[in-house]
């Protein structure tokens, strides 16, 4: 189980660190976000090293929010009603400044409202 989770984290990292995003399929990135959601649901099963890696990759995704937002437009995912805790599904709100993510503090700030993650 733990090895599988490590692999998911690794795959998530491969996509968020991908310099050549335009060569990937937006549908595949969509799947990567599903992976991230799965990791969120199983966060308690991660060891400290995994959590650190996830935090690192999250920070990269957050810093590339605009890029990923643009790239996923054809998939039509923005404007969904998923929980804000799954902030990667809400990059549209992040680039509008409505939603901020502090990965190290494990919290998000949505229009002034602080929500704890994990």
């Amino acid at each position: 189980m733990n090895e599988d989770l490590k692999k998911l984290i690794k795959n998530y990292g491969i996509d968020v660190e991908d310099e050549f995003l335009k060569d990937a399929s937006p549908f595949e990135i969509n799947y990567t976000f599903e992976t991230r959601q799965y990791l969120a649901k199983n966060y308690q099963l991660l060891d400290s090293e995994d959590k650190e890696k996830l935090e690192y990759f999250d920070a990269i995704l957050f810093s590339r929010a605009r890029e990923f937002y643009d790239y996923l437009k054809p998939v039509g995912v923005w404007g969904n009603n998923l929980p804000l805790e799954y902030w990667w599904w809400h990059l549209d709100k992040i680039i509008l400044g409505e939603l901020a993510v502090d990965v190290s503090k494990k919290q998000i700030n949505y229009q002034g409202k602080i929500i704890k993650l994990g």
Partner: protein, 514 residues
């Protein structure tokens, strides 16, 4: 992490390594036991640094490869007829078509026609290239398994192969060659010949008759062979074949000054565009699939790019049973007056063209030339979809057939490289796999007996429809996603822990259609 964290980490690491070095040096000098924990930490830092350096090197390598590919594509484009045709735009501005007088201008105008035609159909050549490559592959494979036996005058199996291998390889060569000629070259010659008839007096083109068309076969083959001997690329060879079958005779004909003046009143590029749109949409059905008796062309088809039309048209493989419908009609003289201001061309006087398709290895007869084309009037805007409607053949089947026959079609070579690199990184495929191996894997999935097919039309979270429909083919482990335009989207095995194959499809809320 911020830069201060990075600096702090680097300083800390440096301190540890320095301490470890000192520890090793003093322990050796004074006979102490080195501190294992310190040495281990130092080793871990070194390994980590080495990994980072290696990763950076790999990234640089990929970037360099992609940059080189971009450069190559740019050079290919610069050297293409499109790039070279630029000066003709200036000439056209300086010398209106109606005032062509000097011989020099006529000559250049004749060249312009050839270039313009090629210019308009550069994407068509890509299809021709694919056809040629399939043929070349079959030939190479044949050469691998067979050798000519001078004693018997027949091809015999090489060591390690059987006569069955030889027969099979030979059959593949015939099929690929036939498909290339019948579906790519001859239809082009036929439609251009028919549409060109009003401008050339009907008989001056060597293309406007079955006999003339058939006689081109040898010329086409020999011109391509010559191009091959000159060491030209597959694309150039294919272009040479098309040129011989179509533009060559046309250009020769149009050196006639009177004819040039006639053409001066007609927008040639439009003429060629329409000819090739019609050719790509209909000819493969009318000719190569002569068993098809009913052809309906959705209005979207003629608004598609030549490449898209070619992909749609070439996806046809198994013609349905013959029906009692009227004979197929090409869109000669189709009502084009509403084509965004384009003048009608090829409508009046298009000679009736009746060909015996047996000459081309096809069993039934076909006729073209009737002005009552079966083309729906195209809309001004471009709409997604719009495959040629072949009764009884589902779109997902024709797409699959196209991939099985011509290989997966990717957005670009760079895209394919990127996909392969990612599959390797994610350990979906062995690290020594090439793009060819990956494409073969896709074909292997599509050829599975237990193949499942799903339609994916809207986002599962928002309900927003996509710009086009996608088909997802799956074998229980891998999924292969292809747009209805026939272009590959992605192919990978969903992660087992995250629901795997079935979990992935359930998550997308897709409908199974097979």
């Amino acid at each position: 992490m911020g830069i201060l964290d990075d600096i702090a980490t680097a300083v800390g690491n440096g301190f540890i390594q320095n301490s470890a070095n000192n520890d090793a040096m003093y322990s050796e000098a004074f006979g102490f036991e080195p501190q294992p924990q310190l040495q281990a930490m130092s080793q871990a830092i070194t390994t980590d640094l080495e990994n980072k350096v290696e990763k950076a090197r790999q990234q640089r390598e990929i970037a360099a490869k992609q940059e080189a590919e971009k450069k190559r594509q740019q050079e290919e484009w610069n050297n293409s007829v499109l790039g070279k045709a630029e000066h003709w735009d200036n000439l056209e501005k300086a010398t209106p078509w109606g005032n062509v007088t000097s011989y020099e201008i006529q000559q250049k105008a004749a060249e312009k026609i050839g270039e313009d035609a090629i210019n308009s159909t550069v994407n068509y050549f890509k299809g021709a290239k694919a056809g040629y490559l399939a043929y070349a592959d079959a030939r190479n494979n044949f050469d691998k398994v067979a050798e000519y036996d001078t004693a018997t005058g027949r091809y015999a199996p090489k060591e390690g192969y059987t006569q069955n291998d030889v027969d099979f390889a030979e059959e593949q060569v015939k099929k690929a060659g036939s498909a290339f000629r019948n579906e790519t070259l001859y239809p082009g010659a036929m439609v251009l010949g028919v549409l060109g008839a009003p401008f050339t007096g009907g008989g001056s083109l060597a293309l406007s008759g079955a006999a003339g068309l058939f006689s081109l076969g040898e010329n086409v083959n020999s011109s391509m062979e010559e191009a091959g001997k000159r060491g030209e690329t597959p694309l150039e060879i294919a272009r040479e074949g098309v040129r011989t079958a179509t533009y060559g005779p046309l250009v020769d004909t149009l050196t006639d000054p009177d004819l040039m003046k006639k053409l001066g009143d007609k927008p040639l590029s439009t003429f060629v565009d329409i000819a090739f749109s019609g050719m790509q949409a209909v000819a493969p059905l009318a000719m190569a699939r002569a068993g098809v008796r009913s052809i309906k062309i959705p209005k979207e088809v003629l608004n598609k790019t030549p490449e898209e039309i070619l992909a749609a048209a070439s996806a046809y493989d198994n013609p349905p049973a013959e029906t009692s419908q009227p004979a197929p009609k090409l869109p000669v003289g189709a009502d084009v007056e509403d084509y965004e201001g384009v003048k009608p061309v090829g409508k009046e006087g298009a000679n009736e063209f009746v060909g015996n398709s047996k000459n081309l290895g096809i069993e039934s007869e076909f006729s073209v030339g009737d002005n009552e084309g079966v083309v729906d009037k195209p809309a001004a805007g471009r709409e997604p979809g719009g495959m040629v409607d072949e009764p009884g053949r589902a779109e997902f089947e024709t797409i699959k057939d196209g991939i099985m026959r011509n290989g997966p079609k990717w957005k670009s070579d760079t895209t394919l490289d990127g996909h392969v690199a990612k599959r390797i990184k994610k350990e979906h495929i062995p690290d020594n796999w090439t793009t060819k191996d990956y494409n073969n894997k896709i074909k292997e999935v599509l050829s599975k007996k237990n193949l499942e097919v799903y339609e994916y039309v809207r986002n599962e979270k928002t309900g927003q429809p996509f710009d086009q429909k996608y088909y997802i083919y799956g074998d229980g482990k891998w999924i292969v996603m292809v747009g209805e335009n026939g272009v590959m989207e992605t192919a990978f095995p969903p992660d087992a822990i995250n629901g795997g194959y079935s979990g992935y499809l359930q998550g997308l809320k897709v409908s199974r259609i097979k």
